[in-house]
């Protein structure tokens, strides 16, 4: 291609046309903070881990004490979720460490996407255990209200509504994080990854 050869000629000629950055300026630059997407993924993932665990702490303790035999099950689920958090945090850290700018472009993209997915799976697993606990507690409460206490339908309905709103808020938060990350951080990376994968098809 004639034009490309022309460009190559010009490319070489203009090699020295860039305003040169001094050593002092480079010193200053390397002490500045990076704004790379990896850093942001790291920060946001940590926030996600913290927020999800904080929600666990905020759950009202007194309802758990009224659950009789279910109490033990909830405790088990609770321990399970801490175990899950630790396990995923370990995976996350391990994946994060493998992100290296010196690997190939494709590998680098893959490791970033993998790191991000770890947190996503963590969110899913927390939602799943939460849902499981919610279903158990819900059934238990409704059964208790109707059979043992002869509670009115209104109050049962109201209680279910509160539970529903609580779950909706959590889901909303998760959705928000998801949007933030995919909207602002990973959209371009995903597009470039697809583009690069297409070449090797």
């Amino acid at each position: 291609m004639k034009e490309l050869d022309l460009l190559k000629k010009d490319w070489k000629k203009t090699e020295n046309s860039f305003e040169q950055i001094s050593e002092t300026e480079i010193y200053k630059m390397i002490h500045k903070k990076s704004s790379s997407i990896v850093k942001w993924i790291f920060i946001i993932s940590i926030i996600e881990f913290v927020v999800l665990n904080a929600i666990g702490f905020l759950l009202p303790d007194d309802t758990i004490h009224q659950l009789g035999w279910l109490e033990n099950l909830i405790q088990v689920l609770n321990f399970l979720s801490y175990g899950l958090a630790l396990f995923f945090m370990f995976l996350f850290y391990k994946n994060y460490k493998t992100i290296s700018t010196t690997s190939t472009t494709k590998k680098l993209m893959e490791s970033i996407i993998k790191t991000r997915k770890t947190v996503q799976y963590y969110i899913y697993s927390i939602l799943a255990t939460g849902l499981l606990a919610g279903i158990f507690v819900g059934f238990y409460l409704i059964r208790k209200a109707f059979i043992e206490n002869n509670q009115s339908v209104m109050i049962t309905f109201f209680e279910s509504l509160v539970l529903f709103i609580f779950i909706a808020i959590i889901l909303g938060l998760v959705w928000l994080f998801y949007r933030i990350i995919y909207g602002f951080l990973l959209k371009r990376l995903q597009k470039n990854y697809e583009e690069l994968s297409k070449i090797d098809l």
Binding site: L6, W11, W40, T101, L108, N192, E195, L196
Partner: protein, 164 residues
């Protein structure tokens, strides 16, 4: 990190900085965005520097980290307005060399390359830098044959942009 390491890094980067400038030229439009990307690449190079063992040339290693930053890690800041300012380019040309038509064509080519996507830009960049297909393939993580095929497609695409 020791001061010695910092000193040798800064010295080598200063000498090889055109590698980064040229990437910035293809990936950004406008002075602010150019500086932004230059800084991010410098930070990423510095972060990766302890792993650079010197078994390859500083420049070869820098190509990879710099391209990876431009394609994968860099977030375009809102400040960068996507206007193409190739008019302001400084040319070091002799009066005798000056060929108006050729000059015009080169300008159009830069504009056409700017319209390519990030991956295509990387291939063009390495092509302009006289890298062979083996190195292009190794940097991006694709096969050599497919790198060659892709480069031919890019040439076709550029032709189409130039002669719509």
């Amino acid at each position: 990190m020791s001061e010695n390491l910092e000193h040798s890094f800064v010295k080598q980067l200063q000498e090889n900085q055109n590698i980064i400038h040229k990437i910035c030229r293809l990936y950004t439009a406008g002075e602010d965005a150019h500086k932004d990307l230059f800084q991010e690449i410098t930070i990423q190079l510095w972060k990766a520097y302890p792993k650079f063992r010197g078994d390859s040339k500083f420049s070869t290693w820098a190509y990879r980290v710099a391209l990876n930053t431009a394609i994968t890690l860099y977030r375009k800041s809102k400040r960068s307005v996507p206007t193409i300012e190739f008019e302001g380019r400084n040319h070091f040309m002799n009066e005798v060399d000056y060929n108006y038509e050729e000059e015009e064509q080169i300008k159009l080519m830069y504009k056409a390359v700017y319209l390519l996507n990030d991956i295509e830009k990387a291939l063009v960049y390495m092509y302009l830098e006289d890298k062979d297909y083996q190195e292009i393939a190794e940097t991006l993580g694709i096969s050599e044959v497919n790198a060659r095929v892709k480069m031919n497609r890019i040439k076709g695409k550029l032709k189409k942009i130039l002669n719509p």
